[in-house]
C-alpha cells in the first residue's frame, strides 16, 4: 500500500480527532490514528489542522501519538465472496472477527484496531472466462463468471479499462490472481471502489417495473418501482423492522443488502439465524445466499454508522452493474442522521433544524439518488437496478421532523406506519390515508397479472377513502345516523382492512402473497360487497347481510395456497352469493 505523510494527534473529543502535520493529505482520505492504528477519515482541512472522524472507540488516545495517511479514500472490496456475509459499517468481516481458532464464536466482543480484509484471499473460485484472446473489450464487459451460490457472479472490465484481451486463465483462482490480461495488463477478480462515489452506468432508465414484495398493502395500494426509493417512517413499535425484514425476505430481487444502521443487535442475529433456513421461492436456494448484511448496531462506534449506508449502497451498485436487481434496506436512516449530527456538533458547526447540520438534506439526497434503474456499462445490453427502502424513526412519532420530511421529498413512495393501527394489531400498520406512491404501474399489472388489476385497485382505494370519511361522522354522531348503503360501506371497509390489508409476517401461509392471489382475495371482497349491496337493496337489514356466516371464510382467505387461490375464490364467492340471496 502506498503511504503518504505522517502527523500527530493534537486533540481528541469523542469520535473526532484533530491531527497536525500530514502534509498533502486529501479530504476524505483514510488515515490510521494513534499507536493502535484506528481507521479514520479526513473530514476537514484547516491550515495544518486535519480533522478526522475515527471509526472506532477513541478512548486511550493521547496527544502526540502518530497519524498516518494511507493515501486512499474509504473503499470497499468487491468480488466473489460477498454474498451471505455480514460486515460492519466499514466492511470489516464480523463473521471472521468472531472466530477464534476452531470456535466460530470464540471472540464474542468487538475490539478496536483489528485489521482483517473483507474478502478471503485464500479461497479459490472456478473462473469461467467469457472472453478469448484477441477480443476487444470496453469498461463493463463481462470478462468471466464465477458461480456464487445460486447467483452467476460476473467479473467486469474495470471502469477505466479498455483494450484487447492478450491472455486468459480458466479454472480455480484466488481473488488476487490475475485471470485476464487486457493489453498485457493483468486483471483480478478483486476490485475496489470508494464508497462515497456513485458507480457509473451507461444511462438511467425510467422506473416502469414494480418491485413485487408479496405484501398486499404495498403491491396493491402503494407499489414501489425497481430502481425507485421508498421511505417508511413510524414511531417505535409500529413494525418498521418487521416490515423491512419481510421485504428483505420476499421482494423479487436478485440480491438484498440489509443495512442495520444503529439498531438492535438481536435483530441482525435474528436475520442471521432465520435467513439460512428460508428458501427463496424463485431460485430454490437459501435466502441467505442472496443477502449481504451490513451491521453497525447502536452500541458500535458512531462514525462507522455514518459510513455504513455508503458501504451498503456501493455493494448494491456493484451487483447492479452485473445486471441484477438489488434491493437495499436501510434500517434506520434516522440513526445515520444522528451520527451525522453527533460528528457535526463535535466540529462545532452551526446547527440547523433540531441540531442536525444544514447539509443533512444534501447528504440524504446523495444517498437516495443512488437508487436507479440503469443500462449497465458494457457492450452487451444489461439492465440492473438498485431500489432503496429507508426506514425512518421520527422522534415522538412526529413526521414533521427533518429526516422524515427530507426523505419524503426524495423518495417516490411513502409508507406511513401508524401507531394507532399498530395498537389495534393491524399489521403491516401502513396508514392508507397518508401513504402514497408516485409510480403508476397499471399497464404492467394489467399485462403481467390480470386485465382488471387497476379496476379492482381503484375500487379498493375509493372504498377506503369513503370509509374514512364515514368513520369521522360516526365518531361524532354514532352509527345510527348513517343510511343503509353507508353502513354497508363501513362493513366492507372492515372486511378490506381485516381480511385483506392485514397480513401476518409470522404466518408461513401469509408472509408472502403472490400477486394473482392478492387479486383473487380482492375480487372476493368486492363480489361480497356487491352481493351484500343487492341484499340491502332488496330490503335486508345491513346487520343481517353483514353477518352472513359464510363471510367468516373471508378471514381465512390468506391461508389459501397460491396456486388454488382463483378456484377457492370462485367457490367462496358462490357460497356467499347463494347465502346472501336468501337474505332479504
Amino acid at each position: 500500500m502506498t503511504t503518504g505523510s505522517h502527523g500527530e494527534i493534537w486533540r481528541v473529543a469523542g469520535p473526532v480527532v484533530v491531527a497536525r502535520g500530514l502534509d498533502g493529505v486529501r479530504l476524505y482520505n483514510v488515515v490510521r490514528v494513534g499507536d493502535a492504528a484506528l481507521p479514520g477519515e479526513v473530514i476537514r482541512l484547516e491550515g495544518e489542522r486535519v480533522t478526522i472522524q475515527v471509526y472506532e472507540d477513541t478512548a486511550g488516545l493521547r496527544v502526540g501519538e502518530p497519524v498516518l495517511d494511507t493515501g486512499r479514500p474509504l473503499e470497499v472490496e468487491l468480488g466473489p465472496g460477498l454474498l451471505g456475509r455480514i460486515f460492519d459499517g466499514t466492511q470489516r468481516p464480523l463473521d471472521v472477527l468472531a472466530r477464534a481458532g476452531d470456535d466460530p464464536f470464540g471472540q464474542p466482543l468487538l475490539s478496536s484496531g483489528s485489521d482483517v480484509p473483507a474478502l478471503d484471499r485464500e479461497r479459490t473460485w472456478a473462473f469461467e472466462p467469457r472472453v478469448a484472446t484477441g477480443d476487444s473489450v470496453v469498461a463493463g464487459d463481462v470478462l468471466g463468471i464465477v458461480a456464487e451460490g445460486a447467483l452467476e457472479h460476473r467479473i467486469l472490465v474495470p471502469v477505466d479499462t479498455a483494450g484487447v484481451v492478450t491472455a486468459v486463465r480458466r479454472g480455480p483462482a484466488r481473488l488476487d490472481d490475475p485471470v485476464v490480461w487486457v493489453d498485457d495488463q493483468p486483471l483480478k477478480m478483486l476490485s475496489r471502489w470508494p464508497v462515497r462515489d456513485p458507480r457509473p452506468a451507461a444511462g438511467r432508465l425510467d422506473a416502469s417495473t414494480p418491485l413485487i414484495t408479496g405484501q398486499r398493502a404495498i403491491d396493491v395500494l402503494f407499489p414501489l418501482a425497481r430502481g425507485g426509493a421508498a421511505t417508511i417512517p413510524g414511531g417505535f413499535g409500529t413494525g418498521k423492522t418487521v416490515l423491512q425484514q419481510s421485504l428483505a425476505k420476499w421482494a423479487h430481487a436478485d440480491v438484498v443488502i440489509y443495512v442495520g444502521c444503529g439498531e438492535r443487535g438481536n435483530e441482525l442475529t435474528e436475520v442471521l439465524q432465520e435467513f439460512p433456513e428460508l428458501v427463496d421461492p424463485r431460485t430454490g436456494a437459501s435466502l441467505m445466499e442472496r443477502t449481504i448484511l451490513i451491521a453497525n448496531t447502536s452500541n458500535m462506534p458512531v462514525a462507522a454508522r455514518e459510513a455504513s449506508i455508503y458501504t451498503g449502497v456501493t455493494l448494491a451498485e456493484y451487483f447492479r452493474d452485473q445486471g441484477y436487481h438489488v434491493a437495499l434496506m436501510a434500517d434506520s436512516t434516522s440513526r445515520w442522521g444522528e451520527a451525522l449530527r453527533e460528528v457535526s456538533s463535535r466540529l462545532e458547526e452551526m446547527p440547523a433544524e433540531e441540531g442536525y447540520p444544514a447539509y443533512l438534506s444534501s447528504r440524504l439526497a446523495e444517498f437516495y439518488e443512488r437508487a436507479a434503474a440503469v443500462r449497465c456499462l458494457g457492450s452487451d445490453v444489461r439492465e440492473g437496478s438498485v431500489t432503496i427502502i429507508g426506514a425512518v424513526s421520527p422522534a415522538g412519532g412526529d413526521f414533521s421532523e427533518p429526516i422524515t420530511q427530507h426523505s419524503l421529498r426524495l423518495a417516490g413512495t411513502f409508507w406511513a406506519l401508524d401507531t394507532t393501527l399498530a395498537r389495534q394489531r393491524h399489521f403491516p400498520a401502513i396508514d392508507w390515508n397518508r401513504s402514497y406512491t408516485l409510480f403508476d404501474f397499471a399497464a404492467w399489472f394489467e399485462r403481467e397479472v390480470a386485465a382488471d388489476w387497476e379496476e379492482q385497485r381503484a375500487w379498493a382505494r375509493e372504498l377506503l377513502q369513503r370509509e374514512a370519511q364515514l368513520l369521522e361522522v360516526v365518531q361524532l354522531l354514532g352509527p345510527d345516523t348513517l343510511a343503509p348503503p353507508e353502513r354497508l360501506t363501513l362493513r366492507t371497509g372492515r372486511l378490506l382492512r381485516e381480511d385483506f390489508l392485514q397480513q401476518s409476517a409470522f404466518d408461513e401461509r401469509d408472509a408472502y402473497c403472490a400477486a394473482p392471489k392478492q387479486l383473487a382475495m380482492l375480487r372476493a371482497i368486492r363480489r361480497t360487497d356487491a352481493a351484500m349491496s343487492a341484499a340491502v337493496t332488496r330490503g335486508a337489514p345491513v346487520d343481517e347481510a353483514g353477518a352472513a356466516p359464510s363471510l367468516a371464510a373471508l378471514a381465512r382467505m390468506h391461508e389459501w395456497p397460491a396456486e388454488q387461490a382463483e378456484e377457492r375464490a370462485a367457490e367462496l364467492i358462490k357460497d356467499i352469493e347463494r347465502e346472501l340471496e336468501a337474505v332479504g
Binding site: 496527544v63 455480514i86 466482543l109 468487538l110 443487535g265 449530527r341
Partner: protein
C-alpha cells in the same frame, strides 16, 4: 500501553459546574480516569472528556465543591474506568462508582473490567428464546419476557413502577429449570425512601444471597448517576457471561440517568437536542441497553428491565421515546387503572414484547398462547374504540355483540390484569384467559384456529 508512573499536574486554570481544566498536561489519554486532589487532600475521581495539546478537560465525578485554582492537583495514572469483579459481588451493596457501600470489606477481585464494556459482535449473539415466567398475567400472557431481552417499564411519578420491578425480580423463573436469577439492581438517583424500599426487599434475609445492589442516591453527585448503570452492567456481564449465571438487571430510574446526562452535556456547552437532552442520548442509552443478551456457546444470560418515569405521563417525551426505539418492547403503566385500584396497573394495549414469538407456543409455554394473546388484543382494541364511542353516543346505541366486548374488557382488567401480588403460573394465566373468553361464542374467536378453540374452550366451559 500501561504506564507505571503517575504524573501530577498542579496547573488547574478553570473550575465550573462539574468541569475542571488543567494546562501543561502530558501523557493524558482521552476518556481515562484521573484522581483530583482537593486542597484539603481528599481524592475524587475524574474522567477526561477532551484533550487538546497540553490542555485537558476533566469531569469531576465526586463534585467540584471546595476545589481551587492554586493547589488542586490532578493525578494521571493511565487508567481506564474499570471495576473489580469476582464471584463475591453477589450479596453486596455498592455505590454508583462500584465501590463497596455496605461497610463490608473490599472485594477480592478476580479481574478488572472496563465500565463501558465492549460491543458484542452480532454474529456471536444467540437470539433470545427462553420463556421467563414473571408470574404476572399481563406480562406472561400478552407481552412475554424472554431471557436476554431488554423490556422497560414505562411508569409515571406516583405509579408503582418500582414495586412492579421488585415483584418481577422476586418471582421470575424459567419453568423448566430450577435455576433462579441473580438480580442486579441499579438504583440511579433514588430518594432515601426508594433506597430503603430496595434494601428491605433485596438486601435483607435470603434475598441478599441472590442480589447485587448499586445505589446512587438523589443527593449524590449527578456524574455518579452516569456511571451507576455502567458499574451494575459490568458486574452483570461478568456474572452472566463469565460465571454462566442468569442475571436480571433492574435499572431504576432511567429518567434520573437522562437528567444527569443532560446536566453533564449542558456543563460542556454542547448543542442541545430535543428538550435540551443531548443529541447522542440515543447512542448513549443504546450503549447501556444493548448490553442485554445471550452469547452463543455460553450458558448465562443478561435480561434487563429498565424503569423510567414518563414526565407528565407523556410517552412522546424524549426519554421514553428514545428508550422505546432501543428496547425490545415496553410495559406501560396506566394512571387510570391505578386510580381504579387495579394492581399492577399494566395498560396492555400500548405495551409490547418484540421477542414474544420466539419464547412461546408448544414446547415453551402452550400451543394456544399466540392465538389467545392475539384474540385478547383484538377484543381489547375493539373495546377501546367502543369506550370512546359510548362517551359520545351513550351505551344504548350499542349492539349486544358490542356490549359483550365491553363486559369482557371490564372483567379482563379486573381479574386478569388486577391480580395484586398473587403469583400465577403461565398455565393458570392461559386458563384464566379461556375462562374469560368463554363469554364469546366459538365463532367469534377468529384469531384462534378452530381446533384450538375446540380443545380449550370446552375445558374452560366445564370448569
Amino acid at each position: 500501553m500501561t504506564r507505571l508512573y503517575t504524573t501530577e499536574h498542579r496547573t488547574t486554570t478553570y473550575v465550573s459546574g462539574p468541569l475542571l481544566i488543567a494546562e501543561h498536561a502530558e501523557h493524558v489519554a482521552y476518556d481515562e480516569l484521573v484522581d483530583v486532589v482537593t486542597p484539603s487532600g481528599e481524592r475524587r475521581l475524574g474522567q477526561v472528556l477532551e484533550i487538546e495539546g497540553d490542555r485537558m478537560v476533566v469531569q469531576v465525578l465526586g463534585g467540584t465543591r471546595g476545589l481551587d485554582i492554586d493547589s488542586t492537583a490532578v493525578l494521571v495514572r493511565a487508567r481506564a474506568a474499570r471495576m473489580p469483579v469476582g464471584p463475591d459481588l453477589v450479596g453486596r451493596i455498592f455505590d454508583g462508582m462500584g465501590r463497596p457501600a455496605d461497610g463490608g470489606p473490599e472485594l477480592l477481585p478476580e479481574a478488572e473490567r472496563d465500565l463501558n464494556g465492549r460491543p458484542v459482535n452480532p454474529v456471536a449473539r444467540a437470539h433470545p428464546a427462553e420463556f421467563i415466567e414473571t408470574g404476572i398475567s399481563a406480562i406472561d400472557g400478552l407481552h412475554t419476557l424472554v431471557r436476554g431481552q431488554k423490556l422497560p417499564v414505562f411508569s409515571g411519578y406516583g405509579l408503582p413502577g418500582l414495586e412492579l420491578a421488585a415483584q418481577i425480580a422476586e418471582s421470575a423463573r424459567v419453568p423448566s429449570s430450577d435455576e433462579g436469577f441473580v438480580v442486579v439492581f441499579a438504583a440511579i438517583g433514588v430518594t432515601d425512601r426508594e433506597a430503603a424500599f430496595l434494601r428491605a426487599r433485596f438486601a435483607e434475609g435470603a434475598a441478599l444471597e441472590r442480589s447485587v445492589l448499586f445505589v446512587n442516591r438523589a443527593d449524590e453527585p449527578a456524574a455518579e448517576r452516569i456511571s451507576c448503570p455502567r458499574a451494575a452492567l459490568t458486574a452483570a456481564e461478568y456474572l452472566a457471561f463469565e460465571r454462566g449465571m442468569h442475571v436480571l438487571v433492574v435499572l431504576v430510574d432511567m429518567t434520573n440517568y437522562c437528567e444527569a446526562l443532560r446536566e453533564a452535556a449542558a456543563a460542556r456547552d454542547e448543542v442541545p437536542g430535543r428538550r435540551g437532552y443531548p443529541g447522542y442520548m440515543y447512542s448513549d442509552l443504546a450503549s447501556l441497553f444493548e448490553r442485554a443478551g445471550r452469547i452463543r456457546g455460553r450458558p448465562g444470560s443478561l435480561t434487563q428491565i429498565p424503569i423510567l418515569s414518563m414526565p407528565d405521563d407523556d410517552v412522546t417525551h424524549p426519554i421514553p421515546d428514545v428508550t422505546g426505539y432501543i428496547t425490545e418492547g415496553q410495559i406501560v403503566l396506566s394512571r387510570e387503572l391505578d386510580r381504579r385500584g387495579i394492581a399492577p396497573p399494566i395498560d396492555v394495549l400500548p405495551s409490547l414484547s418484540r421477542l414474544m414469538n420466539a419464547g412461546i407456543g408448544d414446547g415453551n409455554t402452550r400451543e394456544d398462547h399466540r392465538g389467545v394473546a392475539d384474540q385478547i388484543s383484538a377484543f381489547l382494541g375493539r373495546g377501546r374504540e367502543l369506550r370512546n364511542l359510548i362517551s359520545i353516543v351513550g351505551e344504548q346505541a350499542l349492539s349486544d355483540d358490542d356490549r359483550r366486548i365491553l363486559a369482557f374488557v371490564d372483567q379482563f382488567e379486573r381479574r386478569f390484569v388486577g391480580q395484586d401480588t398473587q403469583r400465577r403460573s403461565i398455565i393458570e394465566t392461559l386458563d384464566l384467559a379461556w375462562e374469560l373468553l368463554a363469554a364469546f361464542p366459538a365463532g367469534e374467536l377468529k384469531r384462534i384456529t378452530p381446533e384450538l378453540v375446540e380443545r380449550y374452550r370446552t375445558t374452560a366451559e366445564r370448569a
